[in-house]
């Protein structure tokens, strides 16, 4: 079952066409990694899926509805660098933002909302930090809190923008292990530069450089089963490439 479908999508900033004829289908429980060179259109595609950029040509369908009508079913985790670490806010309050936009009591949060937020924190192993100030956490811990916030809204698709930027190697591994675990029940879409994601975790890779090229990791591995290191080299080339297709 396709949970995210993009057909014939174009997007331009003024006269500069950033995305051209993008077609993409993400199935339920896929782990899709979106990769590509800087300026290749990764962030633009993400913003268009999330409705931040208007669709001027083509269509995006999320869970059989127009993307704009299904935003509540998408969990979004922004880049770690976008988080204001000086802001006076506790971890639990950040996670409770997952409920923002829902009907609620006059002030504060309902007991059910707090329980849900604590459950989401437990899911990402951060429950003990619920009353800590967000700025006191490490980059990896903060990112897990952001994932908990997205989970709080019970999403069917989880979209993450560079989830491991500025995070140490151990923190990166913890984040991807967590995403792999969540992927048992949720479709995961990650915009990333991390080759480890593609090799160890993702089931599909979409390479974007104005155009989009899809790669099914399982199929590729099956195809090159005699060469266990085939994909690492080819995918690294692909990341650094400015060409619109790859030979992987």
């Amino acid at each position: 079952m396709s949970v995210l479908s993009i057909e014939n999508l174009d997007y331009s900033y003024g006269k500069d066409k950033v995305l051209e004829n993008i077609n993409l289908s993400v199935e339920q429980n896929d782990f899709l990694a979106i990769i590509g060179p800087n300026g290749g259109g990764k962030s633009t595609l993400l913003k268009t899926i999330l409705g931040i950029n208007p669709i001027t040509h083509g269509s995006i369908t999320v869970l059989n509805s127009q993307a704009s009508k299904s935003l509540s079913r998408i969990g979004y985790v922004p880049q770690n660098t976008n988080v204001n670490i000086d802001f006076p806010i506790k971890v639990i309050e950040v996670v409770l933002m997952g409920h923002v936009g829902e009907k609620r009591p006059l002030f504060g949060y309902g007991e059910d909302e707090t329980l849900c937020a604590l459950g989401a924190l437990a899911q990402v192993s951060m429950k003990d930090f619920a009353n800590e100030k967000i700025g006191s956490l490490s980059g990896g811990q903060r990112q897990r809190v952001m994932i908990a916030r997205a989970l709080c809204a019970h999403p069917e698709i989880l979209i993450l923008d560079e989830p491991t930027s500025n995070i140490d190697v151990e923190g990166q591994k913890q984040i991807y292990d967590l995403l792999k675990e969540l992927n048992k029940n949720i479709t995961v879409v990650v915009v990333t530069h991390d080759i480890s994601v593609i090799l160890g975790y993702a089931s599909k890779v979409a390479h974007i450089n104005k155009h989009l090229t899809m790669h099914d990791i399982k199929d590729e591995k099956q195809l090159h089963k005699d060469n266990e290191h085939f994909c690492e080299v080819e995918l690294l080339q692909m990341l650094n490439s400015n060409t619109k297709s790859c030979v992987c």
């Binding site: 931040i52 922004p78 006076p88 309050e93 409770l96 006059l106 949060y109």
Partner: protein, 267 residues
């Protein structure tokens, strides 16, 4: 000081000081966490145009300044939301034009001889009962709005992109924060004056930010600190016969220095 408390004007000054401290604690916190200090400075100086219009046409000063400041806030919201390039230039322009309008209209007002320095440096000891009523109503409105929309305002302030994706009208709340800032700036001008208003809206807030784990606590701590600084400033002003607004700001600035020093010694 105790002797001073028996005077009506001093009692009014204390009440106005507390109310403005509560207001500046709440709105100042929003200004600081949303990084709108320059915008608030622009609104404060632009409101001088409203003071000039009120003086020229014989209208209540608070009314003239408030309407003009709100219009300036709406204009700045429109510019910052739709014209991201050269925001600082536009704010600087509005800032200067507002002040120029105020100065020219006051020049043209026949027979006007009220000391305009009181608007530049504050005149808390000249607060009237009507002023206190106006400040009380504004404080009640701000507290009601914060109570009703706290989680939305918190979400917009912390992560506006995420709030937008959750269906929150970010532009509405951004504009609302600016309009409330404009109204707060106008009443804060009465206490510390146009020149010093930004200090009142940032110094206690900066200290409170470091001492708080939530936005709500930051607002409360800011309000308490502002009140203490206002009391101490008033005492200095009364004891040494110096300008009240400047005294309040000097007390705030010394407190900030002491706070930073303690923080450096005991991080």
């Amino acid at each position: 000081m105790l002797e001073a408390l028996s005077y009506d004007f001093f009692q009014n000054a204390l009440i106005a000081g507390i109310l403005v401290s509560i207001l500046s604690g709440i709105i100042g916190s929003l200004i600081v966490v949303n990084r709108m200090v320059f915008l608030a400075g622009g609104i404060a100086h632009t409101s001088y145009g409203g003071i000039g219009i009120a003086v020229y046409f014989g209208l209540p000063i608070f009314l003239g300044a408030s309407v003009f400041a709100v219009l300036a806030a709406l204009l700045m919201a429109m510019i910052t939301l739709h014209q991201r390039n050269r925001i600082d230039t536009f704010i600087g322009l509005i800032w200067a034009i507002g002040m120029a309008i105020g100065i020219i209209l006051i020049d043209l007002t026949p027979g006007y001889n009220v000391d305009m320095m009181s608007y530049l440096f504050g005149s808390i000891l000249a607060v009237s009962n009507e002023d206190i009523t106006y400040i009380s109503i504004l404080t009640a409105i701000v507290i009601f709005i914060l109570t009703f929309w706290y989680r939305d305002i918190l979400a917009v302030s912390y992560d506006s992109e995420y709030a937008s994706l959750r269906g929150i009208n970010v532009k509405f709340f951004y504009t609302l924060i600016l309009v409330l800032s404009a109204l707060t700036v106008v009443v804060a001008i009465k206490v510390v004056g146009l020149i010093l208003v930004i200090a009142l809206l940032t110094i206690p807030i900066y200290i409170a930010e470091k001492l708080s784990t939530s936005l709500a606590k930051m607002m409360i701590v800011s309000g308490i600190l502002s009140s203490l600084f206002t009391f101490a400033g008033l005492w200095l002003s009364y004891s040494y016969d110096i300008t009240s607004g400047a005294s309040i700001i000097i007390v705030s600035a010394i407190s900030l220095l002491v706070f930073l020093l303690i923080k450096k010694i005991k991080p």
